[in-house]
């Protein structure tokens, strides 16, 4: 029975459906990663150079997103936006919104950490040369901070990708949901379908995330010196 169960993956267009579901997952992850890197760098720089009030607000925003589970945030946005603000966004847009907000918060902390870890004399010599704040960041601080930002940023990307598994809980038709549909359809024909479909999705996530974390680790080791 065990040997025949795996056939459920190749039955009809099941494999195609699963991969299409994976594409939905990947699309949401990709858009969120791009948005969170963009806003994260912006917020991170603001947290090192902006006015005090901005710093406090951004810190508060970071802590809020850190301390409350992402699933809770997804629910809050998913239920509160339509109920209280009469904004009806699709589950997909809500998830991109929440992931980007969370990713930007985490990214801002990575960027801030990288910038303040640079030796003070770098910023000071830049200022002594008469560079404007923009020039200072553009030519001195950001290029140096990049090396300390990239490995944790890639890690953050893998975390975002892993977190996309939560999308099924707010009803996005992504890879897990498709998997559940396949399990339900073929439960009489293949009693072991649940085992194989979940194992397959498990492997899919691993195939996507493992190379990313391996690259991140290699860069970290390479640039550690």
């Amino acid at each position: 029975m065990l040997n025949s169960g795996i056939d459920v993956l190749f039955q009809g267009i099941n494999l195609q459906r699963l991969l299409l579901g994976l594409w939905v997952t990947a699309r949401i992850a990709l858009i969120s990663i791009i948005l969170s890197f963009f806003f994260g760098i912006l917020f991170g720089v603001l947290r090192t150079t902006g006015p005090k009030a901005v710093k406090v607000v951004l810190r508060l925003y970071l802590e809020l997103f850190r301390i409350i589970p992402i699933l809770v945030w997804l629910f809050v946005f998913y239920f509160v936006l339509p109920a209280d603000f009469e904004i009806n966004l699709s589950a997909e847009v809500v998830s991109i919104l929440v992931f980007s907000l969370w990713g930007a918060a985490e990214m801002s902390d990575i960027v801030r950490g990288a910038v303040i870890s640079l030796p003070v004399h770098q910023a000071e010599s830049g200022k002594a040369l008469g560079l404007s704040v923009w020039q200072l960041y553009r030519h001195v601080l950001i290029p140096q901070a990049m090396k300390r930002t990239l490995p944790p940023a890639i890690n953050l990307a893998t975390r975002l990708i892993k977190t996309t598994a939560l999308l099924v809980m707010i009803g996005v038709i992504e890879v897990i949901k498709v998997g559940q549909q396949i399990i339900e359809q073929s439960s009489t024909e293949y009693p072991t379908a649940a085992f194989w479909v979940y194992a397959f999705i498990f492997v899919l996530y691993f195939i996507i995330c493992y190379p990313l974390s391996a690259v991140s680790r290699r860069l970290e080791r390479k640039w550690a010196a």
Binding site: V80, F85, L89, F202, C209
Partner: protein, 242 residues
């Protein structure tokens, strides 16, 4: 961006007719508070058990890696990579819905604890390993030169230092794992998240339910996070010998 602007304008409208929309139904909150209390306790119970399991798994893995125990080391490495690079929700689904199909049936709560232990074990292992590696070699060499056996060296020199060095990372993992308990709602456990989902589905009291949910997590996580910040500062001070 457009969404932000819309939200902002809505918020202004909302403030204008305040009390109309944001007014909370307090009788509802009071009525369902005990249910949330129960859910909170269940979340805590599963979280703590999962974290204990994770810490045990992590410590064993870290010791295997630190002492380069053959074969087992490779196995541990593979386990860590698998656990860290897959989402907990899939791990839970696999444990709870997948395994029964090949004859291993777990109860929901057992699956939850096992899943948290499986995921957390890999994070804990990394935290412990970093602690072990941070013990200065001078300490180990000094221990050897005064004639300590390997067991004594481990027991009296390496362990105490490694464990205190890994405390901040362990604490961060505890917070991370407690947050991950929200995924237990996926395998039909009535913890905070699932309770909220049920109640919203039944009564449409969205705001009240969500406020209770967020409050529930804050009650668990905020004190822990504050204690952790304090502990970290203490340990850092201890390190410099002040």
């Amino acid at each position: 961006m457009v969404a932000y602007i819309i939200i902002l304008t809505r918020l202004l409208v909302l403030i204008e007719r305040e009390g109309d929309c944001l007014a909370l139904d307090w009788t509802y909150i009071i009525k369902y508070l005990p249910q949330y209390e129960e859910a909170l306790l269940l979340t805590l119970k599963l979280g703590v058990l999962g974290i204990l399991l994770a810490a045990a798994v992590g410590l064993i893995c870290a010791v295997i890696q630190y002492f380069h125990i053959r074969v087992l080391k490779q196995l541990v490495q593979a386990y860590i990579e698998i656990a860290r690079n897959t989402p907990l929700l899939i791990q839970l689904f696999f444990l709870f819905y997948g395994l029964p199909k090949i004859g291993i049936t777990l109860e929901a709560e057992t699956a939850a604890i096992a899943g948290l232990g499986f995921l957390g074990g890999s994070y804990m292992a990394e935290a412990f390993r970093a602690g072990f590696e941070a013990v200065p070699t001078t300490q180990i060499e000094a221990g050897k030169s005064i004639g300590l056996s390997q067991l004594q060296l481990t027991r009296f020199v390496i362990f105490p230092q490694a464990l205190s060095l890994s405390v901040p990372a362990l604490g961060a993992n505890c917070i991370f794992l407690l947050k991950e308990t929200s995924l237990f709602s996926g395998i039909a456990i009535l913890e905070l998240m699932n309770t909220t989902r049920d109640l919203i589905g039944m009564y449409y009291k969205t705001n009240e339910s969500l406020i209770l949910l967020v409050a529930g997590y804050l009650i668990i996580l905020l004190p822990l996070s504050l204690i952790l910040t304090w502990l970290e500062r203490r340990l850092r001070r201890a390190q410099f010998g002040n």
